[in-house]
Amino acid sequence: MFKNRQVREKAIRMAFFASATVSIVVLSLIIVFLFMEGVPIFKDVPITKFLFGRSWYPTSDPPDFGIFPLLMASMAVTMLSAALAIPLGIMTAIYLAEIATPRVRQLFKPVVELLAALPSVVIGFFGMVVVAPFLQETFNLATGLNLFNASLMLAFMAVPTITSISEDAIYSVPIELKEASLALGATHWETIFRVIVPASLSGLSTAIILGMSRSIGETMVVLMVAGGAALVPTSLFDPVRPMPASIAAEMAEAPFRSDHYYALFAIGMVLFIFTLGFNLIADHIAQKHKQVGAATL
């Protein structure tokens, strides 16, 4: 009977191991099916022409499947939103982790969590009906649905991600480092700037990369407020069509397993490779520069 018990324990352990691989299985399935439906486009359109082709006219005859404008639009909104979200997110994290009194923290921590919970379609809607008319009137533009508006909305989606990961990183800085710095006569700000931020740099980088990864993949916001013109942006206020917007807007009208359908899946592949890259870099940084104890600085 004792032996039975051991066998059963082993079987249960194996069952849990099998269940734990579900994430890997799902991720593999995503890769397989994305490539299965995306790769056929490269039979008709060479991969370099697909990536660097300057015109995206999927429904004209003959169609053009060059995603360069979409790629540039995605890069532009991601970079711009990062430029807005990184300082805001990290400053918020430092404030919450280092400066705020427990009561202020208790009040603002849920604020950040609720910001993170805002459905993207609602942010997109807000960008459409409030920010767009405002931008249009203030800057006298043809349309308020543009690169700048989309970046602004994306920044607000990226801030909670950046804040919560940075906050964890700052918390894990050993208290000894902070005490040593203060004991040497540094002010609190000097301690933050010269000791705490450098010591948590790997965590902060992870936060930034994951925030950017979220921005590049975010769909509803760019679908609703980016303007939708498949042009390489030349100014802040150009309407653009980032990659996720193209997929979401065109999938419904693309005939099943047509070149257009394959091309949209291929865009999905590009998007997936981007976010996978971001995540692997973040993972690498987190592993290589792990914050362990006081000896790491």
Binding site: S23, S120, V121, W189, G217
Partner: protein, 325 residues
């Protein structure tokens, strides 16, 4: 950007003490010229000023966050509250969606998000139990964690494409509640795993040790002691998962949601309307975008109320749980 050259602060530090404590007997300090004292005082002032200025900026950053949330909420409340009445909540859309209510959308969102939870919860909890209770650090754990992290980073529209290719087309489920719930289930899996693991971490090691010392096996310990103690925390995580799934749009666009369906779903293989998709459709592709603004505000308000309600419950519940341990 440096606030001040490091040289100054090294010289400045001892002077600083001299200013506040004149009784210092150190030769080096007392032999400093008077101008050094002035310099030190000025330096201290500058350092304090730098701190006050930067802290002010930090405060501003937090306030911007708070303001953003308040503005969005106030805006939706102000514009949306007028649209909400019993008809709006209890009827189907009429006259090509320019009048009537959003009951089918509420129902659809409810079915999709709870469906996603039913799919993801068992897998997520099992993964967390393996990672936290069984696994030893090593290659297997590293690979599994990498899988979870990467899954969490996959854009929702890519989940939508995956759902379309795999559930809708390959498994022949069609555009349906089932396909949508499975897609959303995959999407919220990392959320469930993360919160379930956190809940397991909160169970004191003494619980496990006591159970094992009484002769229970590992599985008995997990099943009878650890899981019951961790269950409330896991429930919190599942609420967050449901709220995430309820607000998701891109993942259900190709897998479950339709513009309009005249009848309520009668099986899980029927397509549905959903709140987030309804907002998108009305705001961008409806027959009368301007005329249906009140409906859009109302729908957005209902969605936000749903999502925030669940999040607030989770936040409050979690705070109470944390007090317990």
């Amino acid at each position: 950007m440096r606030q001040e050259p490091p040289k100054e602060s090294i010289i400045g530090a001892p002077n600083y003490h001299r200013v506040s404590g004149p009784s210092s007997g150190q030769e080096k300090l007392s032999s400093l010229p008077v101008s050094g004292l002035d310099q030190a005082a000025a330096l201290r002032g500058r350092r304090q000023l730098a701190q006050t200025g930067m802290f002010g900026l930090f405060r501003l950053a937090v306030l911007i966050n708070g303001l953003a949330l308040v503005i969005i909420l106030a805006f939706l409340l102000y514009n949306g509250v007028g649209a909400i009445n019993w008809t709006f909540l209890s009827e189907a859309p009429r006259d090509s969606m320019t009048k009537g209510g959003i009951l089918p959308c509420i129902l659809g969102t409810f079915l999709l998000s709870f469906g996603a939870m039913i799919v993801a919860f068992p897998w997520g909890v099992a993964s967390a139990v393996y990672l936290h209770e069984y696994a030893h650090p090593g290659l297997a754990v590293r690979v599994i964690r990498m899988g979870i992290n990467n899954l969490a980073g996959v854009p929702s529209v890519v989940f939508g494409l995956f759902g379309l290719a795999f559930f809708v087309t390959w498994l022949k489920l069609g555009v349906s509640i089932l396909a949508g719930a499975l897609t959303l289930g995959a999407l919220i899996l990392p959320v469930i795993i993360g919160t379930a693991e956190e809940a397991l971490r909160a169970v004191p090691a003494t619980y496990r040790e006591a159970s094992l010392a009484l002769g229970a096996t590992k599985w008995q310990t997990i099943y009878r002691v650890v899981l019951p103690a961790a269950f409330p925390g896991m429930l919190t995580g599942s609420i967050l998962g449901i709220s995430r799934a309820a607000g998701e749009t891109a993942a259900i666009m190709f897998t479950a949601a339709v513009f309009f369906t005249p009848r309520m779903p009668s099986s899980i293989l029927d397509p549905v309307m959903a709140l987030p998709y309804h907002i998108y459709v009305l705001a961008t592709a409806g027959t009368a975008i301007e005329a249906t603004r009140p409906l859009q505000y109302g729908t957005a308000l209902v969605l936000i109320a749903l999502v925030f309600g669940m999040n607030l419950i989770a936040i409050i519940y979690r705070a109470r749980l944390q007090k317990k341990y």
